[in-house]
């Protein structure tokens, strides 16, 4: 398309860089997962700072290791984890829109604070939607640059959609919107239908334990290590699983299910993390401490509305 231009070329891909719009919706009944940004909060801010509407495709960079050459004069923003990102060797300010120029080198190093950074570009990254979304899910072979679920590879060229109003550089997210991901987060959980099937001691432990993020943690889910939680229900008939569902398999170690989770499953659940709690958990590295905290639906709803109200 003529109104698209190549803006970044991938020199080195790093372990995992995925294009993500808001996610793939309306097809979960076919066994197709949700996808979308693991950290909705940082993704939304990155798009917002470069003038993009909610849902625009941005790049999720996990761990770092990604090196890009700029081929256009445009505006970008990087939000979320501090992955030691540098522009021509100089630290790039996070949570702030920045002008880039052809020939400049943008490089993500490794995690300094948090796990996933979001790179948004004015206009948004161009990719053909598949099943209504550009969200890249390698396991399903859906979305991403070519539509077949490939993560970024060296040599890929990223194009930006034309933007009617490229904003000036220097737009910043307020300081209280920039989490310190090294702090142990308190993850808000809405209790679910099986919560009463856990014994009292297990429930006490669930909400009074410093859980540790296991190294089995990815975009499908994050396993937490701690005391064993016991549930009177063994397996259940498989049923739909919402974002953030905290399921407890027979080994008693909870798993918080994130964007690329399977669509149905049969383990009892404590409940579901709120979308913002999922976002926060997605920034935790293995070994990090997290707490689960029961929240009221009204409170969670209010908080989510407030978050979304800031973005167009």
């Amino acid at each position: 398309m003529s109104d698209r231009k190549t803006c970044l070329e991938v020199r080195r891909a790093g372990p995992l860089a995925l294009l993500q719009d808001a996610g793939r919706f309306g097809v979960r009944r076919l066994g197709v997962t949700q996808g979308g940004p693991a950290d909705l909060h940082a993704w939304a801010w990155a798009n917002h700072l470069v003038g993009n509407a909610w849902g625009t495709t941005a790049l999720e960079v996990t761990m770092g290791g990604l090196e890009l050459e700029c081929t256009a004069d445009t505006i970008i923003a990087v939000c979320g984890a501090d992955l030691g990102v540098a522009l021509d060797g100089n630290p790039l300010p996070l949570w702030e829109s920045v002008r880039i120029r052809p020939g400049q080198q943008l490089a993500f190093a490794q995690p300094v604070n948090g796990l996933r950074a979001y790179l948004a570009i004015a206009g948004g990254f161009a990719a053909e939607p598949v099943l209504g979304s550009t969200a890249c899910v390698p396991r399903e072979g859906l979305g991403g640059l070519d539509g077949f679920g490939h993560k970024l590879e060296a040599g890929d060229r990223l194009e930006a959609e034309a933007s009617s109003a490229v904003p000036d550089a220097g737009a910043r997210a307020p300081l209280d919107e920039r989490p310190d991901y090294a702090e142990p987060p308190r993850l808000a959980l809405l209790p679910g239908a099986q919560i009463a099937e856990f014994d009292g001691r297990s429930l006490y432990r669930a909400f009074n334990t410093a859980w540790r993020v296991d190294d089995r943690a990815d975009r499908m889910g994050v396993r937490l290590r701690g005391p064993e939680l016991r549930c009177r229900l063994g397996g259940m008939v498989s049923e739909g699983i919402g974002l953030g569902a905290v399921q407890v398999p027979p080994d008693g170690q909870p798993i918080a299910l994130l964007n690329d989770r399977q669509t149905i499953g049969g383990y009892p659940r404590l409940g579901a993390l709120t979308p913002l709690a999922c976002a926060r958990l997605a920034q935790c590295l293995p070994g990090q401490e997290v707490y689960l905290m029961v929240t009221a639906p009204e409170r969670a709803h209010r908080q989510y509305r407030r978050f979304r109200a800031g973005f167009r």
């Binding site: 979960r28 009944r29 076919l30 498989s238 049923e239 739909g240 699983i241 579901a272």
Partner: protein, 238 residues
Amino acid sequence: MTAALPRIESAGLDGWMIRLFDAIDEANMPWLTALVRRCEASFGDALVDLVPSYTTLLVVFDPLAMAPEEARRRLVELLADLQPDATCDEAAPRELPTWYDPSVGPELERLAERGDMSVEQVIERHSQVEYRVFALGFAPGFAFMGRVDERIACPRLETPRRRVPKGSVAIVERQTSAYPLESPGGWNLIGRTPAVLFDRHREGFSLLAVGDRVRFVPVSRAEFERLGGDVRSVEASQ
């Protein structure tokens, strides 16, 4: 103690779980498909996703477009006079042509041995039953169907295969399915279908939907190849 069914349960900020039944039964499905249609009509643009599965329906809505309590109120209304979907049983069953052969179905012999029967009897027992799609999950277009004749029911493989070829027809316990794409998997493989189970360019994407009735129709190797099937053995694809 739990309240009587149907029940509407909390499923996070943007979802309600409707529990209609407590056990797997083919007769559940016309009720679930009816509820799916009614939710689509009632929620309109506020609807994000519906996930019917065996005994439940997960309703996911946009909490900015509809308050959770309003969504719940509508679901109570829909459930009050719900009737099963009659059209579910009117359409002809879907047919999946299947080449049953040990080269593409290496567990055919295991099932025959377990059930003390011939491979031909395994094939007969699998292909003579009309199945119902209980749920889609695990992978896009992967349909969990039942119920398999208990004489050929079989637990999952102890060691899952790293690569199950696309189209593999499989059994685990009293369920059967066909793999839409190559993927890892622990089901017992008994044959292969050339049917395209998931196609991003087809309207509706998935060949099978929850509630569908399905038959596996035995075909020869020649017919399987004519229909575009890939005859490479499971062993060769490991």
